[in-house]
């Protein structure tokens, strides 16, 4: 059976990378030992590689944003299916959500990465990565949205029915505006998880932030400089999103008080 040329190429690249790493891992003595306790931690090398890190950071940010948009789309469709009364819609949605939640993202990523070419879709690694992140996060987003909608008290729905609203009107005017408020903080939490999960894309050689660190680690044998720097960048992203989550919940916490006065 002919393996697609593109897959061959990326697999070769990956195995070269793996060999380089396993050498580093198994026989550290092969490489010049550095003084212990990070005495010669080289900030100069970090500065030298800063453009690479910057590029990685930007890639991580936009691919996470794109994946999050995809996850929202997948999640809304799944949540809508899951809330239907008809088993025809509910069962597939439930099965999908359970399957995604019970398997690791890395296995899903490899499933798409090695599986899609079999089906005749030869896509760049970056697209495969975004697809995997969207499909994975979508299942979690669906659960968040569902929980948000179910958190609306029954009386609200009944009041809508009593006022003679149609299903669409009830959804649009009564349930969704309230559910929206409840779902924002957990959705931002999911965004944090997604940014961290995007690090796994480096394992299928997408050149994002973690990949930049790996390059520095393997080119110069400076794992400390590489990985501590990317950890710092991820922390930066984490605190930004966490601050946003805090702001949003404060803003949303204020809202009911304002509307009640």
């Amino acid at each position: 059976m002919a393996v697609p040329a593109r897959l061959c190429c990326s697999r070769l690249r990956y195995s070269l990378f793996a060999i380089r790493y396993s050498l580093l891992a198994i026989r550290p003595s092969l490489f010049p030992r550095r003084a212990p306790m990070l005495e010669n931690f080289s900030f100069r090398t970090i500065v030298e590689y800063l453009p690479l890190f910057g590029q990685g950071l930007i890639t991580t940010v936009w691919l996470s944003a794109l994946s999050f948009a995809g996850a929202l789309a997948v999640g809304i469709v799944l949540a809508a299916m899951n809330l239907q009364r008809a088993q025809l819609f509910r069962i597939p949605a439930k099965a999908y959500i359970d399957a995604v939640r019970a398997t690791p993202l890395l296995a899903q990523l490899y499933f798409l990465y090695f599986g899609l070419p079999r089906l005749g879709f030869v896509l760049p690694e970056l697209v495969v990565g975004i697809l995997a992140l969207s499909l994975n996060s979508g299942a979690y987003v669906a659960e968040i949205i569902r929980a948000g909608i179910l958190s609306i008290p029954r009386g609200q729905v009944e009041a809508g029915v009593a006022s003679g609203m149609t299903y669409v009107q009830r959804m649009r005017l009564v349930i969704l505006p309230q559910a929206f408020k409840v779902t924002i903080p957990p959705l931002l939490g999911q965004a944090i998880v997604l940014v961290k999960d995007s690090a796994l894309l480096s394992l299928i050689s997408v050149s994002e932030l973690t990949r930049a660190g790996q390059l520095l680690a393997s080119d110069r044998f400076m794992p400390a400089e590489g990985f501590i720097t990317i950890a710092a960048f991820y922390l930066l992203l984490y605190y930004c999103l966490k601050g946003l989550a805090g702001l949003s919940s404060r803003w949303l916490g204020l809202q009911p008080a304002r509307s009640s006065t």
Binding site: M1, V3, R11, A18, Y21, S22, L24, A25, P28, R34, P36, M37, L38, D98, A99, R101, A102, T103, P104, L105, L106, A107, Q108, Y110, F111, Y113, F114, G115, L116, P117, R118, L119, L150, R154, K196, D197, S198, A199, L200, S202, L203, T210, G213, Q214, A217, P223, A224, F227, I228, I230, A231, Y234, L235, Y238, Y239, K242
Partner: protein, 224 residues
């Protein structure tokens, strides 16, 4: 052709069993250690000492804010620079235990904070010691809040254990990656890998759901 592939897959059966064993063992060891450590940290976190509490909080934020893959690389490649030589298995256990402890610490701390202060005051008034208060009054009540997310955390931990394949441990994901080099059918191979994880994780997910429902019922919430 598919028949040949199936035969070849059947040939990698021992490898798959080893991988599954590795995944289960890694998760089990770090799950037990992480739970013990997490409970300890959680109790310290709510113990009233500002300094200890904020140090733990900062550490938890540090671990929560960085991807697990990066943490594994840090432990595996940087601890040797401090003169601690680790094999991949130990590095994996340390990374997973640390991750589990941090998340469980937050879960336990939230559970303890949910116990009304009146309970603690009543225990104080009854002359219970610090240890007795924690063990006989606070923890049993906190457990009701702690249990459902704790089981959910175990599922996440088992799934995160797949990331240790990046430092060369032959766990289930790594086995899939090795097999797919010989049997060029990614869909089939990683479907089977997924089934392996599903068998381990799904019962836990069901358990978490049942606990959650029972909690909801206990608090008189209406299930819609």
């Amino acid at each position: 052709m598919i028949w040949q592939q199936l035969q070849s897959l059947a040939g990698s059966y021992p490898l798959a069993v080893r991988g599954l064993g590795m995944t289960v063992m890694l998760s089990l060891i770090s799950l037990v250690l992480g739970t013990a450590l997490g409970f300890g940290l959680g109790i310290l976190r709510t113990g009233g000492n500002r300094l200890i509490s904020s140090v733990i909080g900062a550490w938890v934020d540090l671990i929560r804010g960085t991807p697990f893959l990066v943490q594994i690389f840090l432990i595996f490649f940087i601890l040797p620079e401090f003169g601690i030589e680790l094999d991949a298995f130990t590095a994996g256990i340390i990374a997973l235990t640390n991750l589990a402890a941090c998340f469980i610490c937050e879960i336990v701390a939230a559970g303890i904070r949910s116990v009304p202060t009146g309970q603690v005051e009543a225990a104080l008034a009854s002359g219970l010691s610090r240890w007795q208060r924690m063990r006989q009054v606070v923890l049993p009540q906190a457990m009701r809040i702690v249990l459902p997310p704790l089981v959910g955390q175990y599922v996440l931990l088992i799934k995160d254990s797949s990331v240790v394949s990046a430092i060369g441990l032959t766990d289930l994901t790594r086995v899939g990656w090795l097999v797919v080099q010989r049997v060029p059918n990614g869909l089939l191979v990683f479907f089977l890998v997924g089934v392996g994880y599903f068998i381990v994780c799904y019962p836990l997910i069901m358990l978490a759901r049942r606990l959650e429902r029972r909690m909801g019922a206990a608090h008189g919430e209406v299930q819609l």
